[in-house]
């Protein structure tokens, strides 16, 4: 057995003329401590008023001191005493006193909301009885407690915070936008300058080239005519030699390569790679969430790519 000293509340309880009243006093003082916007003197006066008929026979000061120190063991002891000794009527009157102490001006603090719930459970009072009692005493229904662990609570109780947050977010966005537009502008200016320089150079070159070209054109025309005649003759001979080979105009190969985004002279591996990429890009399954029109367009493009690839694979 522990031979600890008796705590102040235990001593008070032992000296008291009525243990229930002392215990109730501590619980009421606990409720009062959690009332907001009330001075200490007002608290004591209120406690004295409510407990005028109590028969405890000791000072209220030490009780308030214990309640202020939030001594859990003392409160537990008081709760046990109250639960043991209170009859049904007495427990209702205790709850009545607790509600009046908690809500003089109608407002009940969040802490007291939970404390009153605890007292109601302790005294075996059903929620319906409790809410009707609350309504009778304060003239307003008992609402469920608000929840300060949620964002919604602070939107109601501290709108300034949210306004500030929004403003900050907007300012940050604006800043980012400004920075972007500035960067773009700078880029554009640079490009413009470069273009101007290039343009001047080009013009100078162009003029020179034109002068030379006019000289060359006259000679070139003559040479070309001769060349064309030679080519025609060669083609005729070629035609005669390879009549059995299937006809494949180079123009079509060029177009097929262009469809795949390649230049003439591409190897088979290049073509295969390009085809894979284009097929992935234009596959109609990529547009299954789009409109039917989009899907139709995609499948047309895909068909074109596929036929170009097939053609190139056969002929190169």
């Amino acid at each position: 057995m522990s031979i600890a000293r008796f705590s102040p509340f235990e001593l008070l309880l032992l000296k008291s003329r009525s243990q229930v009243d002392t215990a109730t006093l501590l619980l009421l003082a606990w409720v009062l401590v959690h009332r907001q916007h009330v001075s200490e003197g007002q608290r004591r006066r209120r406690l004295a008023q409510v407990t005028a008929q109590f028969r405890h026979g000791h000072e209220l000061g030490p009780i308030m001191g214990i309640a202020h120190s939030q001594d859990l063991q003392a409160i537990q002891l008081a709760a046990e005493v109250v639960r043991k000794e209170c009859s049904k009527e007495q427990s209702l009157s205790v709850l009545h006193q607790a509600i009046t102490v908690a809500t003089d001006d109608g407002e009940i603090s969040l802490n007291n909301h939970y404390i009153l719930g605890f007292l109601a459970d302790l005294l075996n009072v059903a929620p319906t009885t409790f809410s009707t009692l609350f309504q009778e005493l304060t003239g307003r229904p008992l609402r469920s407690a608000e929840d300060p662990s949620r964002d919604a609570y602070w939107q109601v109780h501290d709108p300034e915070y949210h306004a500030r947050k929004q403003r900050d977010a907007q300012a940050a966005k604006q800043k980012a936008k400004d920075a972007q537009t500035k960067a773009e502008q700078r880029q554009r200016e640079n490009k413009h300058k470069q273009q101007n320089k290039q343009h001047q150079k080009d013009q100078a070159q162009h003029e020179q080239a034109q002068r030379e070209r006019t000289k060359q054109q006259q000679e070139g025309a003559r040479q070309e005519r001769a060349r064309q005649e030679q080519a025609r003759q060669r083609e005729r001979q070629h035609w005669k030699q390879e009549k059995k080979r299937p006809y494949s105009p180079p123009d079509r190969t060029h177009r097929a390569l262009a469809v795949l985004g390649l230049t003439p002279g591409a190897s088979r591996t290049d073509i295969r790679r390009a085809y894979r990429r284009m097929a992935q890009l234009h596959h109609p399954d990529r547009f299954y969430s789009g409109s039917e029109h989009q899907i139709a367009l995609a499948s047309a493009r895909f068909q074109r790519v596929k036929s170009a690839y097939d053609y190139l694979m056969q002929n190169i």
Binding site: L14, G117, D121, P148, R150, Y161
Partner: protein, 143 residues
């Protein structure tokens, strides 16, 4: 009312930096928003901590008094602040035990006071006589 500290796996007295880190790490976006609005602003956190202390006190009291399943203790609060039942004995029983122990001590003292008084008186008298005799003997020897 939820226990944000528990949900973010923090201690109730965690530093601002620890809270910031835990909020950033939190995968639930709704909880992240709530925790940011509640714990990141010092005034909000002060109000929340005040309520948190009261509610966790009530949770402890309910566990000790066997009231963890009361009609007024439901929803988020009951989920987050209910503790496992406490095996500590009732404070009232403890008080009664201590009072009865004190009473038995008192009674024993009262009962044995007569004989013990005689014994102590005799011992005191003998002690004084011995001391006196010794002092006298020493005085004679010196003289």
């Amino acid at each position: 009312m939820r226990d944000l500290y528990q949900r973010l796996s923090l201690a109730p007295g965690a530093s601002d930096q620890a809270i910031k880190n835990a909020v950033a790490r939190c995968p639930n976006s709704a909880l992240r928003q709530d925790a940011e609005a509640t714990l990141a602003v010092s005034e909000h956190r002060h109000i929340y901590d005040n309520l948190h202390k009261t509610v966790s006190d009530i949770g402890q009291l309910r566990a000790r008094l066997g009231l963890t399943h009361g009609a007024h203790w439901q929803g988020d609060v009951a989920n987050d602040f209910s503790l496992p039942p406490d095996n500590a004995i009732s404070r009232h029983d403890e008080l009664i035990d201590r009072v009865s122990f004190a009473v038995s001590l008192h009674n024993r003292w009262q009962r044995f006071r007569g004989p013990w008084l005689l014994v102590t008186l005799f011992a005191a008298g003998a002690g004084i006589g011995l001391a006196f005799g010794l002092a006298l003997g020493l005085g004679l020897g010196m003289g």
